[in-house]
């Protein structure tokens, strides 16, 4: 097929005048297999995300016994039955803390994400691997990452650059909608496109803060300079966003601007959180389809989860400690209802991503999502055998449908595998006992 260079069509259109250009329809930009995106024949972008839930699982009801392909689905894993062949499950991967005391509900997630066990304060010791991935692949979109928490806890962030900086999270679907589809959103499929002079002037003044950099840096120590660097990285990202808003975006067939969701105040009631999660997951999927971001972080609940059921006083966290293990069942029945609801939500999330056709497959097929908790078994705060799943094949770069079982291997191996699968040039991840140069070879294609 003769490739049409859309750039040449669009060149010279940015003098502030409203222009309506009849653009060739999307299909003529797809190759015969339908796997190529658009104008320049770029392949569909690989996306990456995380999905976190608090308070782990009941290990005997969660981890499959069969290793490798076609693993069995114990009851807590059953919500992913439909997507099993697209999901890898991991067992036997541990957070190794090198003698540092385990901070209940803190150490597990921080160690997995940053590759280093946190010190007593629990602060992120360094950049989380999702942020490292965002630095590498989160370009060419409006947002480097989108971070949400379905439970109404605005500090429920597990991602950051370290040095005290955590990604802020959005907890309201309507605000999340505004951020993506409100001011500054350009519908890639709209026929008419006029670069907004306000955006042009806004972009023209951004350089001013850069000019102030040298004078400021002179008076700063090393640590502060690193913080100032983070600030300027952020400025550059906004600059990139504005640049993008001045160009007619590539048409994207899967992108359909959704209706704004209803305003809803969500705190900790499970039923509300489930609804909030579903609304935000739909918006997130559409944000991916509309190429607004390539990286996201979803936290369903928080570490020491404050989820409650409507009309009940007890939080999921309290239950994991206070509830008696039913000797007949072998688990805590009320706490387990939460675990089941959480895994149900993960199944819902997968369903939303897998329900969006894209190229020759689905959105899920072109991405990689790492789902995990901060503990194996909350009652004991164990951070060994961390429950982790990897969903999606990152556009065919990773084998799926496997149960990968290890014996006391560091969880950093899973993180390294994920980073390499989405194309980050990184050879090693983690420090001390968590340091590894070994991705999980059987998964990488």
């Amino acid at each position: 097929m003769n490739r049409i260079q859309r750039r040449t069509i669009l060149r010279g259109m940015f003098q502030g005048a409203a222009v309506a250009v009849a653009l060739p329809y999307l299909d003529c930009f797809l190759n015969t297999n339908g796997t190529l995106l658009a104008a320049e024949g770029a392949p569909l972008p690989v996306r990456f995300g995380t999905w976190f839930w608090g308070l782990g699982v009941n290990p005997t009801r969660f981890f499959p016994t069969k290793i490798g392909k076609g693993y069995d689905l114990p009851s807590e894993l059953s919500p992913i039955a439909k997507y099993r062949d697209k999901v890898n499950v991991f067992s036997g991967f541990d957070c190794l803390t090198d003698g540092k005391p385990v901070i209940p509900h803190g150490t597990g997630s921080t160690t997995f994400r940053s590759g280093t066990a946190p010190g007593t304060g629990g602060a992120l010791p360094g950049a989380t691997f999702d942020n490292i991935i965002a630095d590498a692949i989160g370009t060419g979109t409006r947002f480097k990452t989108l971070d949400i928490s379905a439970i109404g806890d605005r500090n429920n962030s597990l991602s950051g650059q370290g040095a005290g900086q955590m990604n802020p999270v959005e907890t309201s679907a309507s605000r999340f909608y505004q951020r993506i589809f409100g001011d500054g959103f350009i519908d890639p499929n709209a026929a008419a496109f006029a670069p907004d002079p306000k955006i042009m002037s806004h972009k023209s003044v951004l350089s001013v803060v850069g000019e102030e950099r040298k004078a400021l840096e002179r008076s700063l120590g090393v640590a502060d300079r690193a913080r100032l660097d983070q600030y300027f990285t952020a400025v550059r990202q906004v600059e990139g966003q504005l640049t993008m808003q001045l160009q007619k975006p590539e048409p994207l067939v899967a992108c359909k601007v959704p209706q704004p969701p209803k305003e809803m105040e969500v705190q900790t009631v499970l039923e509300d959180v489930l609804l909030n999660h579903e609304m935000m997951a739909h918006l997130l999927a559409m944000a991916l389809a509309c190429n607004q971001t390539k990286v996201f972080n979803v936290a369903f609940s928080n570490g020491a989860s404050s989820l409650t059921r409507r009309g009940s006083s007890t939080t999921h966290h309290q239950l994991t400690h206070d509830e008696v293990v039913d000797p007949r069942l072998g688990y805590q029945p009320e706490a387990t209802k939460f675990v089941e609801a959480l895994m149900g939500a993960w199944g819902t999330f997968l369903g939303i991503l897998d329900g969006m056709p894209e190229g020759d497959g689905t959105l899920l097929d072109h991405m990689l999502v790492v789902a995990h908790s901060e503990t194996e078994y909350a009652k004991n705060h164990t951070v060994t055998n961390l429950p982790i799943m990897l969903a999606g094949s990152a556009g065919g770069r990773i084998r799926t449908g496997m149960h990968v079982s290890a014996k006391r291997e560091p969880v950093s191996r899973v993180a390294l595998t994920a980073m390499q699968a989405v194309g980050v040039q990184v050879e090693s991840f983690g420090t001390l006992s968590m340091q590894t140069k070994k991705p999980i070879g059987e998964l990488l294609v």
């Binding site: 002079p197 306000k198 120590g221 100032l228 409650t308 939080t315």
Partner: protein, 566 residues
């Protein structure tokens, strides 16, 4: 930490727009010298850059542009260091991409209002020759005047030119003079010079070879400590004419700030931080068990205690220790439902509990007993821990990982005292629980929402206990025991030193805390005196490079390098 910058609360009682200073800007040229003389390279590990908190940002905007400016946004959370104050996190936090996006957006929204037709006469300060063409002279006037307030120091001519040129570039695109001002001011409000309080130092004439903070940095420290906002015109003028460097000039400014009604803003912020009120926003209670815990009650809870504090410590210049025994407070209808007190007023009204009431001191108020309780019950452990850590600065270690909670599992019978006895019988748990539970148990007369009760599950509550050897029989006498605890003034002094420093203190600063505490006791526990001592002490204005070798500010990435851990 409050991320939500919901449409700002208005404070009708205080007029807060900084009047345009005439002549303050004139010192811009002299400042240029100061900045150029800044230390070229302080040692590694120093921290001299603190991000503004959300409240400081809001207060600064209100002070500079007036309280009718509306905006909503959500900035990066400030993380509270373990056992520390939230404000100490501002020396560690940076700005993430999503955070900058917000600052940029909010800044532009504010800028658009500043130059709109309603405000421009007052806030722009000049009229352009044409509304559709660049006017460098008018733009320069605007950026010079506004920039001085936004950046807390006069702008060098080159800085002003930067913004004038930026506005000119913008007008070339939009053909709108005021649009250019929006673009320029929007940038100022997203600039690191506004968002971070960065120390500027200069050679110290009194100590050859050493450096001191320049007068504008001193002004900012004073203002953020005492008023929790950007320096006002008086402080900027004292910085401009150099009097802030003299002991007499400093004393004069500190006295002025301490005498102002705006001191309340600083005191409220300090106690909100010390008492952990950032947690209250996310606090939820079971509506079935505690129907009286309404959104209004939740809103009024911290306010009640803050009013109690301001009334006792500021309005009446009282003894800090009396906060734990006072029967004077303030009440609203929503709180009346928790207290079982009829309230006829629609607004806040003063209220005094009778002598025989169990309600005495701020520990008996819902802001304490309800905040440190789970959604559907009370928790002596949480309350005891909070009292130890927040009020007495005695940190409690985290629980061990693998705790057998089976002994406290059944909550349907008896009192929590009986259930917790199991915990304290276990030696592994006892060491910490003995430290927390007895004091928490004496607050068991207040349920998870803060309402009074005499029994639990039909069994009378035994509220007796002891606090480090001081015995008591009920919540009121617990307040008495806390009042007389020797650690009480030490803890307040330590917290205030931390709050003033906006970073974790290093070991060398323990001596400072000790001095503060001694002098606080000598002042008969007067908060205003303690603030005066802090705000006039050399340690408060110390430049960070002099403590460069201290490990306190070492950033976490290097702290976890293998070499350092081994």
């Amino acid at each position: 930490m409050k991320l939500a910058m919901a449409t700002m609360m208005k404070r009708k009682d205080v007029i807060r727009r900084i009047r345009w200073g005439v002549g303050v800007a004139a010192v811009a040229a002299s400042l240029a010298v100061v900045i150029a003389a800044a230390d070229p390279s302080p040692s590694a590990g120093t921290t001299s850059m603190r991000r503004l908190t959300d409240e400081q940002y809001r207060n600064a905007i209100t002070d500079i542009f007036g309280e009718d400016i509306q905006y909503a946004g959500r900035f990066d959370p400030v993380l509270r260091p373990t056992h520390g104050l939230q404000i100490q996190g501002v020396s560690q936090i940076a700005v993430s991409p999503a955070g900058f996006e917000q600052y940029d957006k909010v800044g532009r929204a504010i800028a658009a209002q500043v130059v709109d037709e309603r405000h421009r006469t007052l806030l722009v300060g000049c009229t352009p020759k044409s509304a559709t063409l660049p006017d460098d002279a008018c733009a320069a006037t605007f950026f010079q005047r506004t920039g001085e307030l936004v950046f807390r120091r006069p702008l060098k001519p080159a800085d002003v030119q930067l913004y004038v040129s930026a506005a000119r570039r913008a007008v070339a695109v939009t053909n709108n003079f005021y649009g250019g001002l929006v673009d320029g001011l929007g940038m100022m409000l997203a600039s690191p010079r506004f968002l971070f309080d960065v120390d500027v130092t200069q050679p110290d004439p009194a100590r050859p070879g050493a450096r001191r903070l320049d007068a504008y940095s001193k002004a900012a420290r004073l203002s953020f400590l005492l008023w929790n906002t950007t320096p006002d015109r008086g402080l900027l003028a004292a910085a401009a004419n150099g009097t802030l460097h003299t002991p007499a000039g400093l004393t004069q400014q500190v006295n002025r700030l301490l005498a102002s009604p705006r001191l309340e803003g600083g005191v409220r912020m300090f106690f909100s931080d010390m008492l952990g009120y950032d947690q209250i926003v996310d606090l939820s209670k079971d509506g079935v068990i505690y129907p009286q815990f309404t959104p209004n009650a939740k809103r009024d809870m911290p306010e009640q205690t803050l009013r109690t504090i301001v009334d006792l410590l500021i309005t009446n210049d009282g003894d800090y220790r009396d906060l734990f025994t006072t029967r004077r407070t303030f009440m609203t209808r929503a709180l009346g439902a928790i207290y079982h007190v009829p309230v006829s007023e629609h607004d806040w009204m003063p209220y005094e509990f009778p002598e025989d009431s169990p309600r005495a001191g701020i520990l008996s108020q819902p802001s304490f007993v309800a905040t440190f309780s789970p959604p559907g019950r009370s928790s002596p452990t949480l309350r005891g821990k909070a009292l130890r850590e927040l009020i007495l600065c005695q940190p409690v270690p985290d629980p061990p990982n693998n705790v057998d909670f089976s002994k406290v599992e059944n909550t349907a019978k008896g009192t929590v005292r009986e259930r917790l006895t199991g915990h304290r019988a276990n030696p592994a748990c006892a060491s910490c629980h003995r430290f927390m539970d007895p004091i928490g148990l004496s607050l068991e007369n207040f349920d998870g929402a803060g309402a009074y009760r005499s029994d639990e599950n039909g069994v009378a509550i035994d509220a007796s206990g002891d606090l480090d050897g001081s015995k008591f029989a009920d919540p009121a006498s617990l307040g008495q025991a806390v009042r007389n605890h020797p650690q009480l003034p030490v803890c307040l002094s330590k917290r205030l030193a931390e709050y003033a420093a906006r970073r974790p203190l290093d070991t060398g600063e323990a001596a400072w805390v000790k001095t503060l505490s001694t002098r606080f006791v000598e002042s008969n526990y007067r908060l205003r005196e303690l603030l005066r001592i802090v705000a006039t002490s050399d340690q408060f204005f110390e430049v960070s490079s002099s403590t460069a070798t201290s490990p306190r500010t070492t950033p976490s990435p290097t702290a976890t390098s293998p070499r350092e851990v081994k």
